[in-house]
Symmetry: C2
Subunit: 274 residues, 2 copies
């Protein structure tokens, strides 16, 4: 048994879709969430900047007594973790590897689509991981830079979102992929519209579900599950003012936000990259 | 004569629409531009965070020998400058006051529309300034949070942009406003689509044109115009990697980016807000 908390971080609120799955699968766990809302989004920023921000996010989470840190952010996972994750004593896990593994397992025709932020797709991380799983897999990766702002503004089923999604997803449909990785933790909120466009034939792979399943497996195997949650099991920290977080966060978490919410001065944890 | 440079800053690239007008109206001036691309956008962030970032942007620009600093960003001008602008020895000027003054002068029926980021509209700055000019003016202000990401992704004339703009602009059209303030420096790039939706009857007020006109007037009155530009008159600094800046920046500047471009570690100029 290990009652220490699990730490999760994201560029903003998207990581709450991962937290949602964790809360569902592991209700005894206590969780600290950090959202870098003062510097959101990461998806269009450079590798150096995303590494610098990810380092500071982990540094802040290390101020808690945690058993595991999860980069609940597709961009941080794809771009920054390969450079960082072995530097820490505490295990730091991203969402890309487990998601790619699940997609490689699911595909029947060997063609997998990947959608993500500009940074994630530019990194080539998902395609590389898919090919490590199975060199025969054909990978079609498309950046969808407008999905994050559309989701953050609640345009989940808007006609404009549909028009943009149809354009983004065209190469995926043309490729004949039977599996599509939602490579950004915001995208599960667009599952419905994406599913309608690509059709039933294409399986959508949600990184939150993959990560939560893997975490449950790991903690169980290592005897590190929590016995019961703390009295206040969920703590949220944000680098911008938390005003509005309760409303918008509930959309991602699909339940009302309850628990401690406060602001953190992330500059204090940020080192110069130059 | 005063050959010192003019400093301009913005949350990202939008301020280049102001720089474009300055370059056009004052070709003898040398300009330093700082774009906070590592923390863009400001528009959805809190007052405290925008003040913290604006202070650091000004602090960085103060490392140059300047005669004037311009907040070429609607959000920084509306939210942060009222708290900051009298703290500096060097004049610091925003785009909101001159733009509101011009709109108040232009309106014939006394009804003025304002569009801007969520933060700008929440601040009420434009409506307050319009009423200071003329207490009879009726002001209809609408936040357009998706315009910045649409512009940054080059969706200037896309059908999705049109659908979103039609919804945003509906209250402006209904109000009968004859004048519309483009309260964010990104919005002039959407002039065509906005103009088509609101119709010829509505005058669009571009903060870049208003600011450049005012700066020319002030520098002329004070005998502070430059004699001739430096050999390399335009210097660009960005807080994220400058890769891609030349291409995207040229869209805003409507001419190829030439001149010195480099990265600055803006954290070194940022103080804790807490």
């Amino acid at each position: 048994m290990d009652n220490r908390r699990i730490g999760l971080f994201d560029s903003g609120l998207g990581g709450l879709t991962v937290m949602k799955e964790l809360m569902h699968m592991l209700p005894a766990e206590s969780i600290v969430y950090f959202g870098d809302t003062g510097r959101v989004p990461y998806g269009g920023k450079s590798v150096e900047t995303v590494i610098k921000y990810t380092k500071s996010d982990i540094k802040f989470l290390q101020t808690f007594d945690l058993k595991l840190i999860i980069a609940a952010c597709g961009t941080a996972s794809a771009i920054a973790l390969p450079h960082l994750k072995d530097q820490y004593e505490i295990p730091v896990m991203g969402v890309t590897e487990v998601t790619a593994r699940e997609a490689a397992r699911l595909t029947k025709n060997g063609c997998v689509g990947v959608i993500g932020t500009a940074g994630t797709i530019r990194s080539g991380a998902f395609c590389e991981l898919l090919k490590q799983e199975n060199p025969e897999i054909r990978c079609v990766a498309v950046p969808c830079p407008l999905f994050v702002p559309l989701v953050e503004n609640g345009y989940l089923e808007h006609e404009a979102t549909r028009l943009i999604a149809e354009e983004y997803l065209e190469p995926i449909i043309k490729s004949g992929a039977d599996t599509l990785i939602l490579g950004c933790t915001h995208y599960p909120l667009l599952s419905r519209i994406i599913g309608e466009i690509v059709g039933d034939r294409v399986r959508l792979v949600n990184p939150g579900v993959c990560a939560a399943t893997e975490i449950k497996k790991r903690l169980t195997a290592q005897g590190m599950l929590a016995e019961k949650p703390e009295e206040e099991p969920y703590h949220f920290y944000l680098s911008d003012d938390p005003g509005g977080f309760t409303r918008l966060g509930s959309m991602f978490l699909e339940r009302p936000i309850s628990g401690h919410v406060s602001r953190v001065d992330i500059e204090a944890y940020t080192e110069s990259a130059l």
